[in-house]
């Protein structure tokens, strides 16, 4: 009896394995690892130009030098949606495209200004793409970035991912992942933003530079912030752990390093008018100062502190004014109101755009200069002292 049972059980197990098959298996050398996707507008308005960047695998066996090889493979097509494009790519290539390791989603500026919502659908629904893909807008055509031959990193997709990772150590708000983007998109008031990058020729070498952030309304890109304005935005959002405040006064110029900066917002309603109080606490230390002769240490500190506070405030206000002209609530004040005063929010949500125009922002900066860097006085101060 036992033998039959054991045998049957064994057959059942073998049978299980037999039907299990290998539905999902993809050998690595039958896959193309996509590291970047670029979407651009094409002549036909119902279609878009889609290019993907694929990290080209190099056989590790010796003999062949990698220098002649292109580091990446590029594929282009024009298709109405991303999924159509993917099937075209899979048809035209000898391997399957793997999107899970996609690092960036680049949107050409012209496409971004047209309409992005309908193009992003695949990236949200399909399990294959991850929600932490970085979203970026390209000043120019996105495929150029993907084509770029960089010195720093042979694959531009990886370069951009590392660039953003590096920036994230300064503040997490630099990082706009798919989920952040979508989260802002879903919200009724907050305007989505995304970093803008562009390709630069420099002595015959190509470079990717970041120049600000693109601002979207609910479906298209409506404007952009310069790097300076982005700094103001980042400071207003708080959670900054690196950065510089530079200013020059009548006595000299100084660059103070931020070691931490936090922002707290308070909202008050003043008959139909909304007032936002932004209190910012900054821990600074002196990075570099020049000038400031004939001035004592205490005075210098007090002076630096007030100037730094002023500088921070100016930057934030500047960004805020820009956002007002774009009429895009990039700071998420609307969301803050919704969260803390849901009943008030119900009243103003319909005319949020006009309310935002009339929104009053009051920034209180409390800067504290902790350490003075490695030297206590600047060299010029020393000179000033000895001249006394």
């Amino acid at each position: 009896m036992k033998l039959v049972r054991i045998f049957s059980a064994a057959v059942l197990a073998a049978f299980m394995l037999l039907i299990c098959g290998c539905w999902d298996d993809y050998e690595l050398n039958a896959l193309f690892i996509v590291t970047g996707i670029a979407l651009d507008s094409s002549q036909n308005p119902s279609q878009m130009d889609i290019s993907v960047q694929i990290a080209k695998p190099h056989p590790s066996s010796e003999g062949k030098s990698d220098s002649e090889n292109e580091p990446v493979i590029l594929m282009n097509t024009t298709a109405p949606t991303m999924s159509d494009a993917l099937s075209v790519f899979n048809r035209n290539s000898n391997r399957t495209l793997m999107l899970q390791h996609n690092q960036v989603l680049l949107l050409g500026k012209s496409l971004a200004e047209d309409n992005i919502i309908k193009h992003l659908d695949l990236f949200m629904r399909d399990q294959e793409t991850r929600m932490e893909v970085l979203v970026m807008v390209v000043d120019g055509r996105a495929e150029d970035i993907i084509n770029a031959q960089l010195e720093q990193d042979s694959i531009s997709g990886m370069f951009l991912a590392r660039l953003i990772t590096d920036l994230t150590t300064a503040s997490s708000h630099y990082q706009i992942r798919m989920i952040d983007f979508v989260s802002r998109l879903l919200d009724e008031s907050v305007a989505p933003i995304a970093p803008i990058v562009s390709l630069k020729e420099n002595n015959g070498k190509q470079e990717i530079v970041m120049n600000g952030m693109a601002v979207f309304d609910n479906e298209r890109m409506i404007g952009q912030l310069t790097n300076d304005e982005v700094t103001g935005y980042i400071w207003a959002m708080g959670d900054v752990s690196r950065g510089e405040v530079s200013f020059s006064t009548e006595w000299g110029t100084a660059v103070l390093n931020i070691s931490s900066l936090t922002a707290k917002r308070e909202i008050s309603f003043d008959n139909e008018k909304v007032q936002v109080n932004l209190s910012i606490k900054a821990q600074l230390h002196i990075g570099q100062i020049s000038g400031f002769k004939y001035i004592s240490m205490e005075e210098l500190m007090a002076h630096l502190q007030t100037s730094a506070e002023q500088a921070i405030r100016d930057k934030i206000m500047n960004s805020f004014e820009i956002s007002k002209t774009l009429n895009a609530d990039i700071f998420g004040f609307g969301r803050s109101i919704y969260r803390t005063y849901p009943s008030e929010w119900k009243k103003i949500r319909e005319e949020w755009e006009t309310v935002y125009q009339n929104l009053e922002l009051d920034v209180n900066v409390d800067a504290h200069i902790a350490t003075t860097g490695q030297i206590t006085d600047s060299l010029e101060m020393e000179e000033g002292k000895s001249a006394d």
């Binding site: 197990a13 098959g21 997490s172 989260s183």
Partner: protein, 366 residues
């Protein structure tokens, strides 16, 4: 009459309860689609509202020591009515097992095996489960401690890993939804993981501690499980914010976002494996209860020959239940919560009341 005479210690029973509830932490999507950022509140209320339910179970346990649900039913309602209720419970257990197996299939298909047919994943799970059931309750419940500890640890690690992405402002605004949705949310959480604990009434005679202690274990396990689900939900809300309703598996998406340098990212499959283990535990447990309920219903002396065919029934019957996962979710949000109340709350309550009126059991204390 007890079919499976093996005994389990009380602590194993405690952790089985915990594990059983933890396995449902996957299915918080039912809830998140209804109560959004206030889902944690629905869970909190659900946990508190579940206490009377557990109390009813405990009353049944202490009133009928050493008896399982079927025996209680036939003792309280007599032979005919008892058998009718027995059939209803068999159907209920069978459906629960099928639904959970389908959930498992959907989950695995969605997360790690996108192209493998769902049926195969389910068959594999049922076959391995059948193997465990052959060895009886001891093996079925033995790893509850291990699994629940692992998932607690994973929960804590997960919280640390997504700490930098949590935004506690995501809980705001609180309590702005219509009251009906809170009731619905509470109902969902009350019936889908918590109320399913009614299956434990079938294995109570196998626990070798006195009924009073069983009640204590039941309560502690229930609370631990409730806290676990609450924390999972809170974590997901804090990380995902308003996008939480968009995903079919919020807790997995949360863990997908883990990114601490390149090495500590993309780890969600590890978490998926832990969830598979928990789901497996729950399915095996339900499967076991279905098998012994059927065997006992027909007064059989052994249950082993029934295991595989009941497994086949679970699978084939399960496939007929819902046409698509969307319908499943919709039904999970709207219909099953109310429907399950019948089995999880009303019938035990009626049983208890009838027992009090008819003064059953005759010899036992009243």
């Amino acid at each position: 009459m007890q079919i499976d005479k093996r005994k389990i210690p009380g602590s194993v029973m405690l952790f089985s309860v915990v594990c059983f509830i933890q396995a449902s932490s996957l299915l918080t999507a039912f809830l998140a689609g209804v109560t959004f950022q206030d889902s944690w509140f629905a869970i909190l209320i659900g946990t508190i509202a579940g206490l009377p339910m557990i109390w009813i179970y405990n009353m049944l346990i202490s009133r009928f020591p050493g008896k399982n649900l079927l025996e209680i039913l036939s003792e309280v309602f007599g032979k005919v009515l008892g058998k009718i209720f027995g059939v209803m419970y068999i159907w209920f257990f069978l459906t629960l097992t099928s639904l959970n197996t389908i959930d498992m299939g959907n989950f695995v298909k969605l997360t790690i095996m996108e192209e493998t047919p769902r049926l195969i994943l389910m068959v594999l799970c049922i076959v391995v489960g059948a193997w465990a059931i052959r060895y009886g309750i001891g093996v079925v419940s033995r790893y509850s401690f291990l699994f629940s500890m692992i998932s607690f640890i994973i929960l804590v690690i997960g919280i640390f890993l997504v700490w930098n992405q949590m935004d506690f402002k995501n809980f705001l605004p609180m309590f702005t939804l219509p009251v009906k949705e809170y009731i619905q949310g509470t109902n969902i959480i009350l019936t889908i993981p918590f109320g399913e604990l009614v299956v434990f009434l079938m294995i109570i005679p196998n626990v070798n501690i006195p009924p009073q202690k069983i009640s204590k274990m039941f309560f502690i396990g229930y609370l631990l499980g409730g806290i676990h689900i609450l924390v999972v939900m809170a974590r997901d809300i804090a990380v995902l914010g308003n996008t939480i309703a968009m995903f079919s598996l919020p807790s997995l998406v949360t863990l997908r976002l883990v990114h601490l340098g390149e090495a500590l990212s993309r780890m969600e499959i590890l978490f998926a494996v832990v969830l598979i283990m928990l789901m497996f535990f729950k399915i095996t447990f339900l499967y076991y209860v279905t098998v012994i309920t059927i065997a006992q219903f027909f007064n059989l002396k052994e249950y082993k020959p029934l295991i595989l065919s009941i497994g086949a029934l679970i699978l084939s019957y399960g496939l007929t239940l819902y046409v698509s996962p969307v319908k499943h979710t919709l039904s999970g949000q709207e219909i099953t919560p109310i429907f399950w109340i019948l089995f999880e709350f009303l019938l035990p309550l009626v049983t208890l009341v009838t027992a009090a009126i008819r003064k059953r059991p005759k010899t036992g204390k009243v």
